[in-house]
């Protein structure tokens, strides 16, 4: 059942992005930034946590979950360490993704040659 929910949620997010991209003639960069901000906003009132409970991996794969995890880390940091925790905790949950992307990109670019 959770697989069906995951399919529907991730599919709707991607289709929505595609429609916005085509309608307003934006670049993919604008779309990803827009969806990160939406994801960060939805975590303010714990809305995105409900999506994650409902759709599981379907809510964690789209880039909205990146914004959600950034806000989530900042809020958790605030609850633990007070005001400075907003800065300390921001990257707690997302650092794995960012580090993995940078490290793989670095080593693969040493091995492989660009193609055109």
């Amino acid at each position: 059942m959770i697989y069906l929910n995951a399919f529907i949620f991730a599919g709707i997010v991607c289709a929505l992005a595609q429609i916005i991209l085509d309608k307003f003639k934006l670049t993919p960069g604008h779309i990803t930034v827009l969806f990160v901000i939406i994801g960060a906003f939805l975590d303010v009132f714990n809305v995105y946590d409900k999506f994650v409970l409902w759709a599981g991996g379907g809510a964690l794969v789209p880039i909205t979950s990146f914004g959600h995890m950034l806000t989530h880390g900042a809020i958790a940091g605030y609850e633990e360490e007070g005001f400075m925790g907003l800065l300390i905790g921001t990257f707690d949950l997302t650092s794995a993704g960012i580090c993995a992307a940078i490290i793989f990109a670095f080593y693969f670019s040493l091995i492989f040659k660009p193609r055109d």
Binding site: I2, Y3, A6, F7, I8, F9, A10, G11, V13, C14, A15, A17, Q18, I19, L21, D22, K23, P28, G29, I31, T32, V33, F35, V36, I37, A40, F41, V44, F45, A55, G57, G58, A59, L60, V61, P62, I63, S65, G67, L70, G73, A74, I75, Y78, L86, T90, A96, G97, A100, A101, I102, F104, A105, F106, F108, S109, L110, F112, K113, P114
Partner: protein
Amino acid sequence: MEKKRYKEIVNQHTPKENLFLNAVIAFLIGGIMGVLGQALIDFYSYYLTIPNKEATVCMIVTLIFLSCLLTSLGFFDKFVNFCKCGLIIPITGFAHATMSAALEYRKEGFVTGLGASMLKLSGAVIIFGVVSAWTFSFLRMLLGVE
């Protein structure tokens, strides 16, 4: 008058993108990516007995690894051209942007090319993500939401 005619001619010759078909393709591919993510989480937590929270991290790292590998082998650009938002919106799009910038600027040297320009395309996501996350959690702190 000239400008108006020019616009008309441009409009006639711009290829019409099929809005509905693009949205359906994005829906299907995005849905498959979501199912793949959930399947990887289940695989890691049942068969390798990793706690659920770490399984999520493992899933994200796996997807990033696959997308970096396929990008550097040269397949991923074709997939993205076909599926568009179905692959750009999932975390694979972030890895794809980082990897293609790294491949492209590698020839300009290590520090000035690879180091300076690797995050050229994906840096916007990190910067706007951090700024909006800080602002929203600061607002939440001010509002005192539980």
